[in-house]
């Protein structure tokens, strides 16, 4: 690790101000950033920790019924506390290992937008709203490709608002070494339609499988997916799976997620 300064503001305003410094970098749970620093693959001059800001923490239900999760809430707290949205709680409880879950945060995961992370599938699959210090961004507009998001420089996620579906489930097929999602599929059924979000598979990061959404909107059963297929074009190919394999898994896991959602 290279030497750096660290600030630990207690208000959003102070955090935004601190992030204005040149080469400053926001630090949430640090489950990606700290290993990167330890390998000397990044050299920020200043880290601004977001985990001492009370406004960024906690889980509550909004007047419209949406589940609101503070950006600096760790996965373990979501797993235990998001009882209003069991599929989301279950997803949080499967991220990494207990150490990762007690440090890693939902805001950190969404800001990083790792193409194999779990939370992007939940946010996109739920049509969540990403609330920042400046604005509210719909999930459909937020994810812009591998490690790319709609966040501006220095913009901080404050909370994530999840509309709670009638039924939902997340199925993760783990990459054998990292245990990240080789492919993960989040399926959610709302009164006005079904959303299917896929992580781990695409070179463009998390995406919606719109054909499946349409088919499941008409008939929410695994059988509705028969006849559909996912193209291997643009799928990730690596040591752990070919593009064909990932495309195949998208369909298999979508069907199983529908079954799991009941």
């Amino acid at each position: 690790m290279y030497a750096f300064e660290i600030e630990r503001p207690t208000t959003i305003a102070d955090a935004v101000a601190a992030l204005g410094a040149e080469d400053a970098q926001a630090l949430s749970g640090g489950q990606t950033l700290i290993p990167t620093l330890k390998q000397r693959l990044a050299a920020p001059s200043k880290l601004v920790s977001l985990t001492a800001i009370p406004e960024l923490k906690g889980i509550c239900t909004a007047d419209d019924g949406a589940l609101c999760i503070g950006a600096a809430t760790p996965h373990a707290e979501v797993a235990a506390g998001a009882t209003a949205y069991p599929a989301l709680a279950a997803l949080a409880g499967q991220i990494g290992d207990p150490a990762v879950r007690s440090r890693g945060t939902i805001g950190g995961s969404l800001a990083n937008n790792d193409p194999s992370a779990c939370y992007p599938a939940a946010a996109l699959g739920s049509g969540a709203a990403i609330v920042t210090d400046k604005r509210q961004i719909a999930a459909d507009d937020y994810f812009q490709g591998m490690f790319e998001t709609a966040l501006d420089e220095g913009e901080i996620i404050v909370e994530v608002r999840f509309p709670v579906p009638e039924k939902a489930a997340y199925l993760k097929f783990e990459q054998p070494a990292s245990r990240f999602a080789l492919v993960g599929v989040f399926v959610a059924k709302y009164a006005d339609g079904v959303r299917v979000a896929v992580t781990g598979a695409s070179e463009e990061g998390v995406f919606r499988w719109s054909e499946a959404e349409a088919a499941l909107g008409a008939d929410f059963s695994a059988g509705a997916l028969e006849g559909l297929s996912v193209s291997a074009d643009g799928m990730i190919g690596d040591l752990h799976g070919t593009p064909d394999y990932r495309a195949h898994l998208v369909k298999v896991l979508t069907g199983r997620a529908v079954d799991a959602a009941g």
Partner: protein, 788 residues
């Protein structure tokens, strides 16, 4: 009633108290006054011409004591190879130099080009980034067959090609084997890869060099399985330090699996630099560094042909293997695909004709050397896979075809130069079928099918040659070392003992099981016996621990030394009781005169030895300390049968191990619980190789699986609760304990069981074209196999 002490008792491991409470003392726990820190600058390219190394900027950085490059090691010996293989034409293998730091060329990612030594590790690391190596990248050779093609880039310019050796075994059998295969009723052919593995011991390697200017003594603290071997190799061949001026200490070591046998550049460097700087120099390997510097394991590409008669009797075996040596010859690398592999190609079967051909190849990859099993897993895997395929092709039950070919009479001389002293392969196979409940498989398969899963059963046998080895035999085979073992038993005046062994424990539990043996022989409490190992200053010259040899060879030396102690103690007891030594019996720590009620206690005799007031000084010396060296006259041959049941998810290709049973014949057992643990660990590694682990390089020589994010290690959740049995015992006929060794069996026997089971599952599900899948059997590969 299980025994609670002595040989055969499942005593809890005494060393675990310190290991489990954080009180172990590992090499990295050693910090010497005035210690400086080394950081290696390593090649980031697989192959390149090293024009020079600019160290000026680094040398000027804060805290830097000195920056070393290959030029500092001109005139210093290279890292030696401990085994010379002779090729098919009677010529010695091609043996390239292996400089401590690269000179003229870099040959793999991780090859060291410079080392910064500084006051702190952070300073050394900062300065290491300022070292500029001027490297002209050259095309890399990664694939072994491509490396042997005409015009391939040469890893070593001074060699005639990338071929280290072309070995034929037994060369005189070749024509007869060819003829038998040509005329056979049936020939089964299988081409397969034995995947490259990264050892990944829990404790990364560490070296601390120290030099005492007053005495001119050097000391190296290192993570080694064999400190005496390191002292000999480094002292005599690299740094030119006589052994009496060099001490090597390997304290608690957190796992080796073979990777800590070898003499590494970092050990020589720290010892050398400490003398140059007159300060202790410490190097602690980073995990990512260990991926590109620890010797890797396996990496064979093999074609095996098995000829059978109409009844399924094996007629002949012919194999052709390409064995990756990596960029340099690691300490024992040449022996692994040859004498530790070819000699096991008979397996448990009476195949009359066998010919093994091995081409060892240099590539721009990390050196490959012995890894848990070392050659024997490669032999077992190809043999047990081709037998399974043959059984299927001929419509013979896979268990039956093995029984039909078992060796049943001993001693048995194989056509590949070894003689099995004893064994009972039907007994372990019978036991396996019982504990694995093979009879109930069909019912379990139906139950799996109801859940949409494909269940398969894989059964195989294995044999290994352990307890290496008879020194004169291995000398004829090219070893540049003897392979005896040593022990000194020092009895103290008040009756306690210290056993100083040349074996080294790095997870095997020697401190417990060795004490059980000695205590049992004398009839005293185990707590009166202390086992000392790992320091050349206080143990006799020994060859260390690998090849499942510690109890069979080191334990035998300890028995011999203890026998000498008992013989002398009986003379003292005889004197004290005014009887003839021939009439003295030792039982439960009491010496008695046979047929009388006269007795003296163990402690009375040991006290007399050191306070010789009433003592036969004219006949024997005072004191009670004996040393023995034991050189075995044969290998030992543990053998057994394994069964694996898997479920395959047809939707994803994911394999889960539903059950795994192992029936092993290890001869006599000293501590059954420790043996269980050794087998469990071996099975974990074997299943890891079969399902998860694989080191992969890209074409340019970058290690794609260079961290735990991409190199999958087995975890507890990947493994079932094993059914392990070692009640079938045919004691070794030639060592005093009748023991055979158990450390590697699990890793040798389990990979074919897993692959056999997966192929069985797919075959039963109608994928009849799937006859083999290369390890690791990742979901992606299994799914692809199912697609045809």
């Amino acid at each position: 009633m299980p025994k609670d002490h002595g040989i055969g008792a499942s005593q809890k491991r005494r060393e675990d108290v310190r290991f489990l409470t954080g009180r172990g003392r590992y090499t990295d726990d050693i910090n010497l006054a005035g210690q400086a820190y080394a950081c290696f600058v390593r090649s980031q390219v697989a192959h390149g011409k090293l024009n020079g190394v600019d160290t000026a900027a680094a040398a000027a950085m804060p805290g830097v004591l000195r920056v070393f490059t290959g030029a500092d090691f001109e005139g210093v010996g290279g890292l030696p190879c401990g085994w010379q293989v002779t090729d098919r034409n009677g010529q010695p293998m091609q043996e390239p130099g292996h400089p401590v730091l690269a000179q003229g060329k870099v040959r793999h990612v991780g090859d060291p080009v410079a080392v910064v030594v500084a006051e702190t590790f952070e300073q050394a690391r900062d300065a290491a980034e300022a070292v500029e190596a001027d490297i002209d990248e050259l095309p890399a050779v990664i694939d072994m067959k491509a490396a042997l093609a005409d015009g391939a880039p040469k890893v070593h310019d001074d060699l005639s090609s990338n071929l280290c050796y072309d070995w034929g075994f037994v060369e005189d059998n070749r024509a007869a084997v060819d003829e038998a295969i040509k005329n056979a009723h049936h020939v089964t052919t299988l081409e397969l890869v034995n995947n490259r593995l990264v050892p990944n011991a829990m404790e990364p390697r560490v070296a601390v060099g120290d030099y005492n200017p007053a005495t001119e003594d050097s000391t190296l603290y290192t993570t080694s399985q064999n400190p005496h071997v390191i002292r000999l190799l480094m002292g005599a061949f690299v740094l030119g330090i006589p052994e009496h001026k060099l001490r090597v200490v390997a304290p608690d070591v957190g796992g080796g699996f073979g990777s800590k046998i070898f003499h590494y550049a970092e050990e020589a460097f720290c010892t050398f630099a400490a003398k140059q700087l007159k300060r202790p120099v410490k190097w602690t390997c980073q995990r990512s560094e260990s991926f590109i510097t620890d010797a890797h394991g396996r990496d064979h590409v093999t074609k095996i042909e098995l000829a059978l008669d109409a009844e399924g009797h094996f007629q002949a075996i012919r194999t052709e293997t390409y064995a990756n040596m990596g960029a340099y010859l690691s300490t024992f690398a040449p022996s692994v695909p040859t004498w530790l592999h070819g000699t096991l190609m008979a397996g448990n079967y009476k195949t009359p004709l066998i010919y093994v051909n091995v081409k060892a190849v240099f590539t721009n990859t990390v050196p490959v050397d012995a890894y848990r099993g070392a050659g024997r897993p490669e032999a077992t895997f190809q043999l047990e896979r081709v037998i399974d395929k043959a059984a299927r092709e001929m419509g013979i039950d896979p268990v039956e075809i093995r029984r039909r070919n078992f060796i049943t009479e001993f001693p048995y001389a194989t056509p590949v130069a070894v003689e099995y002293d004893t064994g009972d392969y039907n007994a372990t196979l019978d036991k396996l079928l019982e504990i694995a409940d093979v009879a109930g498989f069909d019912k379990r398969r139906e139950e799996s099918a109801k859940r949409g899963k494909l269940r398969g059963l894989g059964v195989n046998c294995y044999i290994e040659a352990c307890g290496i080895a008879p020194s004169q035999l291995v000398g004829q085979l090219g070893a540049r070392a003897g392979l005896y073992e040593s022990a000194t038993v020092r009895v103290n005046a008040t009756g306690g003992l210290v056993v100083m062994t040349g074996s080294h424990s790095h997870g095997q539990g020697h401190e417990t099981s060795f004490a059980q043996v000695v205590a049992d022989m004398i009839g005293i409490d185990e707590n009166m016996v202390e086992i000392v190992h790992g320091d050349t200053a206080n143990t006799p010259m020994g060859m260390g621990t690998y090849g499942s040899r510690s109890l069979a060879v080191g334990g035998s030396a300890m028995v011999r030394a203890t026998e000498k102690i008992i013989a002398k103690a009986k003379k003292i007891a005889a004197h004290l009781m005014e009887a003839s030594p021939d009439d003295i019996e030792l039982k439960d720590g009491q010496f008695t005169v046979a047929g009388t009620d006269k007795s003296v206690a163990w402690g009375d005799v040991t006290l007399a030895a050191y306070v010789p007031h009433n003592y036969p000084l004219e006949e024997i010396e005072p004191g009670l300390e004996e040393t023995a060296f034991y050189d075995p006259n044969n290998f030992t041959y543990p053998a057994g049968a394994y069964a694996c049941e898997v479920e395959v998810d047809p939707g994803t290709g994911k394999v889960t191990i539903e059950s795994f049973a192992a029936a092993d014949d290890f001869g006599n057992i000293v501590n059954p619980m420790i043996v269980d643990g050794q087998v469990h660990g071996g099975l974990g590694q074997g299943i890891g190789q079969a399902l998860l682990e694989g080191a992969a390089y890209d074409e340019s020589g970058q290690l794609l699986s260079g961290s735990f994010m991409d190199y999958a290690m087995p975890r507890a959740g990947d493994l079932p609760s094993f059914k392990v049995d070692h009640s079938c015992q045919t004691p070794c006929t030639h060592n005093p304990l009748g023991v055979k060794g158990c450390g590697e069996a699990g890793a040798i026997g389990s990979p074919p069981a897993v692959v056999n089971a997966v192929v069985d599952a797919l075959q039963r599900a109608g994928h009849t074209n799937v006859t083999h899948i290369d390890m690791p059997l990742t979901p992606s590969r299994v799914w692809a196999a199912m697609q045809g």
